[in-house]
Symmetry: C2
Subunit: 286 residues, 2 copies
């Protein structure tokens, strides 16, 4: 089991929790690293101590809430870019780390030049969240890094433990509370919601693969409009849906292909949006 | 004079000092903003107070020493990316700032796909210094920023007040001390050394131009090899030159074109390398 010791940074976050649990279920020794446990990515000593006793790292720690990142871009950059650079530097000095899997996002692509977007598409991130994620990617690719890495550009993640200000739980909770669902814009912006368990499997496959130094999209094929999600909620609990002005800085939707992950990692989503949504809603999947 | 009040961030650094002096000579009221004056880019209140009384910003504050950035990539990222994001956010909230000129670097291009490199070339920065500079650029281009900006990608700057660990003063000081000049690699790597006064003029032109939302290379045409510089020093003071192993992470040389700056800003270098070198050496230019 020695080769299955993995550190999860951001282990108290939504995806961190899911990945930690998933890897434990797969027989990994998953160690936590999170501010919630008093462990700071910007503190070299915390990193040294935690990295010394593992072989792999799943690096998720970041200001994962895009609204918070917009509100405090300084924090997003210091944690996301500074913290990632710090992790890479400490891992390089220690020399026991076999691979780091970095949680990036489909949002690094920015405005699409062609669709579906593959990993060769240029990156033009346009929000403090995605800019910080992308700069973190570049730190892995830097000439100064010698620790093997895989970058996963994740779809819009959903699943248990997700932030309550994310669109799906927000809509569900509005309906449950008898309040109005508010949609910014026409609600026709699409997202490829990707279930946290599918994402966690992407991390496992990336860890166990011999491949390093590659970038993979980990994004479910299906896409939903925000309006469709509101309607799905409404079909379960009657609720009023209101449309307001488009929100500043909202991400342009784009279709992303995960063909490379399928081909080289054997990754494909297993959770359909309908099942994942029902599970989140509190109903068992059909 | 009201419209000529400019804040220089990083005003105690090599380029900051030069730009501050140059703009003062051109009739600007140049205000300083530097850690050396107790003013921190990561502190919103410091920024608010300083930005409130100016119209323009020349944003140079960063970990400008590439060796320090390699040693402390966390610091480079927090100051460079976090600090830049902070500056942009505070400027957006204040609404009095007419334009910010951002000091970026030719090094953001990374490995050249074609040469000479123009501003349309893709950016693949591969060092914590250039990654941080590039992420700062992206923060300016973010959807959340509404303050007009111009990004200047500067050539390898030289001139008075430059850091003593930069190649030219390092070689001069070795020769003056009767020590050996050490060159990492074969010394055939080229640099387009661009004089600080020429760079300062680039900032002035960018400030005064009606153009915003554009990126310009500000790089002198001439290029020198490191070996040539050592030989130029040797021709003034006899000194031994020793070649050692190539240094890890050193930037791949590339020819950069400033044709766009010439066309749209009317910028061209005025200081020949020979004159700038002689001036730095302590001899008057010929």
């Amino acid at each position: 089991m020695n080769s299955k010791r993995v550190l999860i940074t951001g282990s108290s976050g939504f995806l961190g929790k899911n990945i930690s649990q998933f890897l434990k279920d797969q027989g990994y020794q998953a160690k936590n690293f999170d501010l919630a446990d008093g462990l700071d990515l910007l503190n070299e000593n915390h990193l040294k101590k935690s990295l010394a006793s593992v072989d792999y790292v799943c690096h998720l720690a970041a200001v994962g809430d895009v609204y918070l990142a917009a509100k405090s871009p300084k924090l997003a950059a210091c944690v996301g870019v500074g913290g990632t650079a710090n992790l890479i530097q400490v891992a390089n000095n220690l020399k026991n780390i076999k691979k780091i899997i970095y949680a990036s996002t489909w949002e690094v692509y920015g405005h699409p030049n062609y669709q579906p977007i593959d990993e060769k598409h240029s990156c033009n991130p346009d929000h403090p969240y995605s800019i910080s994620k992308y700069a973190g990617e570049l730190m892995f690719r830097s000439n100064l890094n010698h620790v093997p890495w895989v970058i996963l550009r994740l779809g819009s993640a959903y699943g248990s433990n997700m932030r309550t200000n994310a669109v799906i739980p927000l809509f569900i909770n509005k309906a449950k509370a008898g309040e109005v669902i508010t949609i910014a814009g026409d609600g026709l912006q699409t997202r490829q919601f990707t279930h946290a368990r599918d994402i966690a499997r992407g991390f496992q496959l990336a860890l166990e693969s011999k491949i390093a130094g590659e970038v993979f999209n980990i994004v479910s094929k299906e896409s939903q409009t925000i309006k469709e999600i509101a309607e799905m909620v409404k079909s379960k609990i009657p609720v009023r849906i209101k449309y307001t002005a488009k929100r500043q800085g909202d991400v342009v939707p784009a279709m992303v292909s995960s063909e490379k992950a399928r081909r080289l990692l054997g990754w494909m989503e297993k959770v359909s949006f309908k099942d994942g949504f029902m599970e989140l809603f509190g109903f068992p999947g059909n």
